[in-house]
Amino acid sequence: MNVRVQTEAFDFGLEANNFATAQTDMGAIVTFLGIVRNLEETNLSYMDIEHYPGMTEKAIYKITDEAANRWSLGDILVIHRYGRLSTDDLIMMVATASKHRKDAFEAAEFLMDYLKSRAPFWKKEATDQSQDWVVSKVEDESALKKWQ
C-alpha cells in the first residue's frame, strides 16, 4: 500500500504503468484520476487545496486498510495533491490491483467515496470575482451508506 500526499505534480501514465508492472500475480488494475474542473458560470482562476498535515496520511491509510480488509487486493496506490492548482491539473489518483476485476472496481469506488468526505482536504475555488470554499454535497455523505 502506498499513500502520497504532495504538492508536486504527478505523471498519471507513469504511475499507472509502474503500479501495473509491479504486480506479480494480479490480473486487474483499476485507476481513477481526479482533475480540476472549470466552473459552469465563470472561469476558475485557480483552486487551493488545504489539508491537515499529520492527520491526512493517517486518515487515508485507515481507508486503504479498510479496503484491503473488505476486498481481495494485491496493492493500493493513493496520490493526493494539495496547494494551488489550475484548471485541468491532476488532483489525485487511486489505483487498485486484484486477481479479478470485481475486487479492483469495487475497492476503487469505495476508496473514492471515503476519500471524498473522510480525508481532511478542503477545496477553495477562486475566480476574478470571489474565492469560495467548495461545499460538501449531501450525495457525498449518502454515498457512504451503501458501504455500511
Binding site: 481526479g34 491537515y52 492527520m55 488532483i91 468526505s117 480525508a119 482536504f121 460538501s136
Partner: protein, 82 residues
Amino acid sequence: MIDVLYFAWVRERIGKTKETVETEAETVAGLVKELSERGQRYALAFSDLGSLRVAVDQELLDFDASLKGAREVAFFPPMTGG
C-alpha cells in the same frame, strides 16, 4: 493544555491556524462553549455545529467526545477531498 487547530473557513473566520488553550472542559462540546465566549469571531464560527466537524488527536469524532487525555483538537467544515 490543548492545541486547538482550525482549517478552511473556520480558520478564516477565527483568524488563526492554531492556538494553545487552557481548558477544564470534559467534552468537545464543552470546549466549543468556552471558545464561543471568546468573542464574535468565535461565536460566529461555532454558531452552527451541524456545519462543522471535529477531530480529537487526529481522529474524526462527535461533539460529545471526551477530551480526557486529548492533546490536539481540530475544527473544520465537512471535507471536500477527492
